[in-house]
């Protein structure tokens, strides 16, 4: 379990940008299959199962107003949800900047990638078996900055 940051996001956070600014207004994409090696790599045969947006409207989703204790969370007042586009087993996600191309290779786009499971993953769902046309809701989403490198 370790969230992977794209090179574009790492460069921004080391410069004068921040995680929230980089990814606010973006979308969360849920896939099946083997996750790519890192958040820069292109997807390889992974099916997009669900695109999570604001109230399933397609609009971007946002993080909380500030980080605390090195952790930033989903904006608590927002409902993050999406209607499943395919049936499959969710294995990983990408949270991509607004207007990003999450499935393609890039060293400049700002995105994160993490594992999906029912427990102990970066994003835990009540069930990883997604069914087409059902609505998927994300109740909790936290990102922690490591203290050491």
């Amino acid at each position: 379990m370790s969230i992977k940051l794209s090179t574009g996001l790492r460069n921004g956070m080391l410069d004068t940008n921040d995680f929230k600014t980089a990814l606010d207004g973006g979308l969360l994409y849920i896939y099946d299959g083997t996750p790519p090696a890192d958040a820069d790599a292109a997807n390889a045969g992974n099916t997009l199962l669900c695109t999570v947006s604001l109230n399933s409207t397609g609009s971007g989703i946002n993080f909380d107003t500030a980080a605390a204790a090195g952790v930033i969370s989903k904006a608590p007042a927002e409902t993050w949800s999406g209607v499943n586009a395919a049936t499959g087993t969710a294995t990983f996600f990408r949270f991509s900047e607004a207007g990003g191309t999450p499935a393609g290779a890039s060293t400049t786009e700002q995105r994160i990638q993490g594992t999906i499971g029912v427990a102990g993953a970066d994003l835990n769902l009540s069930s990883v078996g997604l069914t087409i046309s059902a609505t998927q809701t994300i109740d909790f989403f936290n990102v922690t900055m490591p203290a050491s490198a």
Binding site: D15, T16, A69, V71
Partner: protein
Amino acid sequence: MTIRASTGLKNAMLGTVGLKGATANGVLRIYSGAQPASADAAVIGTLLMEVTLDGGAFSHGSPTNGLNWDTPVNGTTSKPVADTWKGTGIAAGVAGWGRYYSNPLDDGSSSTSLARVDMSVGKGTGDLQLSNVNVAVAAPITVDVAILRLP
């Protein structure tokens, strides 16, 4: 070789201004002995040297002679090649670790809000490389390499 970011810096990188913004016009202080457990913790060891731009006088709250990081590449930022980070020995001893302080007043005591980076020190190796780890009073020492990476 361990880099430790304070909670204040982690919060800045997640939610406000990024590392370069949070640590602009900072200062690097070199201490003897081992690093504290975290960059939130109070400093330990003897202050051996204060490193500033060209070795000039520095005061928290003023940008004069403050240090800045270069534009990041491939998830890594460094001391700008054109900048000279220099200090003069305040006390004699072997450099063990360094704390990069941001510009606002920071006396090195315990804090979860100030942006700091702790780094181990070496000569010819590590994230913070000095021209000489044996600090002598009044002797100048330069920082040859300083590198920060995001995993």
